[in-house]
């Protein structure tokens, strides 16, 4: 139906930044619905994201959780318009009411950086190794606002202080290799904040860092988010991190959303067996030494093959014939709590 990869609206008639009515007060900042992303590879179609639907309210943190290849990174790159042309995107991504799917590159570029910014896992690769860090931050500032060199310099130092880089003024003239991994990530966050974005996407932003550094960066992000009223999409494989820092959690598996709820509700009433499996597989300090971890066998499915039934069914302890034949719908089954499962945990339903 929508094989041409264009947005469902077909054209891009909506005005950028719209009239006053475009973003009504209660509407979420970002609304993703029915997002599907296909890659064509050597005659195969890899469905990396399959019908993803979620929303990010203003000034809130949504944790996007799942294992490698579950589609969490691909779907967030689609928000940024950073996917290669071989990606076929259908469905809808609305930012402040404006449809991003099918938006021309020029318009996307205006949004990227100024309204939506992203911080990646590897700060060493995201920074230019041949440039001092100060100029890299001022460049980001001047790209998005028309200010003098001096004003940009002052703003850069301000940003470096905001992300708590020690001795900001001296650091201005240092190269990325002179900084530790944690400090480089602080520089990346300063660059991302340069244009005061409304949405920041942190893609495994602390995964490569040490535990104490990770905790410091996460505390910094939360603090900045509250002070600047920015929304945050936190992409991680770590449910523990989501439990500590996200307001709402979306668990993904094989390109689909499988469970979504406000954080407390999710962790208190886990419904989807995959979420349960993820939680049970985390080593905890309360566990006794040498106690075995609950580990489900098998591996995620190969997305180059069409999925029949629930994608988790081959690994699921609750799976029945029904699960293998019919994919369960991802629906709100309790207030604010969505899941996709025929046999959810903790709910023994009479047949």
């Amino acid at each position: 139906m929508s094989a041409n990869g264009l947005s469902p609206t077909g054209s891009d008639v909506e005005p950028l930044g719209g009239g006053g009515g475009a973003a009504s007060v209660g509407a979420p900042l970002l609304e993703i619905s029915g997002l599907r992303i296909d890659f064509h590879q050597a005659g195969n179609v890899v469905r990396a994201v399959d019908g993803l639907t979620y929303a990010v309210p203003r000034a809130r943190t949504v944790g996007l959780i799942g294992e490698s290849g579950c589609g969490k990174t691909v779907s967030s790159r689609a928000i940024m318009g950073l996917l290669p042309p071989s990606a076929l995107i259908t469905g809808s991504i609305r930012f402040e009411g404006q449809e991003l799917v099918g938006l021309p590159e020029r318009r996307l570029r205006e949004l990227r950086g100024s309204q939506i910014a992203m911080v990646f896992q590897d700060p060493a690769r995201s920074l230019n190794p041949t440039l001092r860090i100060g100029p890299q931050i001022t460049e980001a500032i001047r790209l998005h606002s028309d200010v003098t060199k001096t004003a940009a310099h002052d703003r850069a130092v301000e940003l470096m202080e905001l992300v708590r880089l020690p001795a900001a003024r001296q650091r201005f003239r240092q190269y990325p290799h002179q900084l530790s991994g944690g400090m480089r990530q602080r520089v990346m966050i300063a660059i991302a904040l340069a244009a005061e974005p409304k949405l920041l996407i942190a893609d495994e932003a602390t995964t490569a860092l040490d535990v104490t550094t990770q905790a410091q960066i996460m505390e910094l992000l939360r603090d900045l988010q509250q002070r600047l009223g920015m929304a945050l999409i936190m992409i991680s494989h770590d449910l523990g991190l989501a439990a500590s820092f996200a307001d709402e959690v979306m668990v993904m598996y094989a390109g689909r959303g499988v469970e979504r709820a406000p954080t407390r509700k999710l962790f208190e009433h886990v419904r989807m067996p995959y979420t349960r499996a993820l939680l049970d597989a985390i080593p905890r300090l309360e566990n006794a030494s040498h106690s075995p971890l609950a580990a489900v066998a098998g591996q995620p499915p190969d997305l180059a093959h069409e999925q029949v039934g629930c994608p988790f069914s081959p690994r699921c302890p609750n799976a029945t014939e029904k699960c293998r034949e019919h994919a369960p719908p991802f629906q709100e089954q309790e207030p604010d709590h969505l899941w996709a499962c025929w046999h959810p945990c903790g709910l023994e339903r009479p047949a």
Partner: protein, 344 residues
């Protein structure tokens, strides 16, 4: 008491850093005066962050490269200064599993060949015997030899490749396996599978592990005792349960406070209360206690005198002038609720 399997005494590993022209610019104090013992069948967890020297320590134990000073005894045999041939023989009993199986396994070889190679190197068995042994090893790590035996590393998932690396480490029937971040590159569910495999092998084969990782909760899961390293120094070592229940060194406290809890209702103490600033350079480590520049408890004496590793409880040692009190852990800054079992 039985003889320790591994006895590390006053081990030092230093590297000279040179400027252009070969002029000595400084010395990296990667491992400084580290001592510990490991009993047969015991797992010692070794925790520390990047730059703590934990991987360098593992390599110094293996004599690759040879340490600057100190002693490493494996089953009573001193490895430091041992001739190459005898060292090779001694290393049979001590194998290494790395973080990245794709980096440590030759990409051109098939799983079967990778596992067989140590047997050939030590001239063990006939070809038929070796084949049977390889199949047995692959089965032991949960890989069907018929299905996976002829695959090359690229044709395996991360978890499967790590299983091949473990099978290879087991080939020579070692008494000790040094695991250097063996599951850090794996996804959560696969990680649990491999951890459970390592546990099963330990009980089945009576293996001892030196288990190196940066994740304290993970180390707790597998260890009998835990050692914490900071900037080349052993700062705390003790029984796993006691070390987590009553950490004595402020750095251990900071590490514990950094673990994100998978329980959203758990009280969180800001990590910035427990540690500040950045890791100093190992080229010019702070005087006295190396942690003092980041420590919230540091006083003048910490800069003047290096605290020795001293016994503060049964089997529990810490190198700190002001060890964290052994009372209940300090409550989080928020709220003053002292009732211990309030539930909501």
């Amino acid at each position: 008491m039985s003889e320790p399997l591994l006895q590390v005494s006053n081990l030092v590993q230093e590297f000279t850093v040179r400027d252009r022209g070969g002029v000595k610019a400084g010395t990296v104090h990667a491992v400084s005066d580290v001592s510990f013992e490991l009993a047969p069948g015991e797992t010692l967890g070794l925790v520390g962050e990047t730059g703590s020297g934990k991987s360098t320590l593992a390599r110094a134990i293996l004599q690759a490269p040879r340490p600057t000073a100190g002693s490493v005894r494996l089953r009573g045999v001193e490895l430091v200064g041992l001739k190459r041939r005898q060292l090779t023989e001694a290393r049979r009993h001590m194998q290494l599993v790395f973080q990245d199986p794709f980096g440590s396994l030759d990409p051109k070889w098939r799983a079967r060949e990778l596992v067989e190679e140590p047997l050939i190197a030590f001239k063990i068995g006939t070809r038929t015997q070796r084949r049977a042994r390889v199949d047995e090893l692959l089965e032991r790590v949960g890989l069907d030899p018929a299905r996976f035996g002829d695959r090359r590393p690229r044709e395996l998932s991360g978890g499967q490749a790590q299983r091949v690396a473990i099978a290879r480490a087991l080939a020579l029937d070692p008494a000790l396996i040094i695991c250097d971040e063996p599951v850090s590159s794996l996804d959560v569910l696969i990680r649990a599978q491999v951890l459970n495999l390592l546990e099963r092998l330990r009980t089945e084969l009576g293996l001892a592990y030196l288990f190196i990782a940066h994740d304290l909760a993970l180390v707790k899961q597998v260890s009998d005792r835990v050692a914490v390293m900071y900037l080349g120094k052993l700062v705390e070592i003790g029984p796993a349960e006691a070390l987590y229940r009553e950490p004595l060194h402020p750095y251990t406290v900071a590490l514990l406070a950094s673990i994100p809890s998978p329980d959203p209702s758990a009280p969180r103490r800001p990590v910035t209360d427990t540690i500040r600033g950045e890791l100093p350079s190992p080229i010019d480590p702070p005087s006295g206690c190396r942690f003092r520049t980041r420590c919230p408890r540091a006083q003048d004496v910490c800069a003047a005198e290096e605290p020795p590793l001293r016994k503060l409880a049964e089997g529990h040692f810490a190198a700190c002038h002001f060890p964290v009190s052994q009372e209940a852990p300090a409550p989080a800054l928020t709220g003053g609720a002292h009732d211990s079992s309030a539930t909501d």
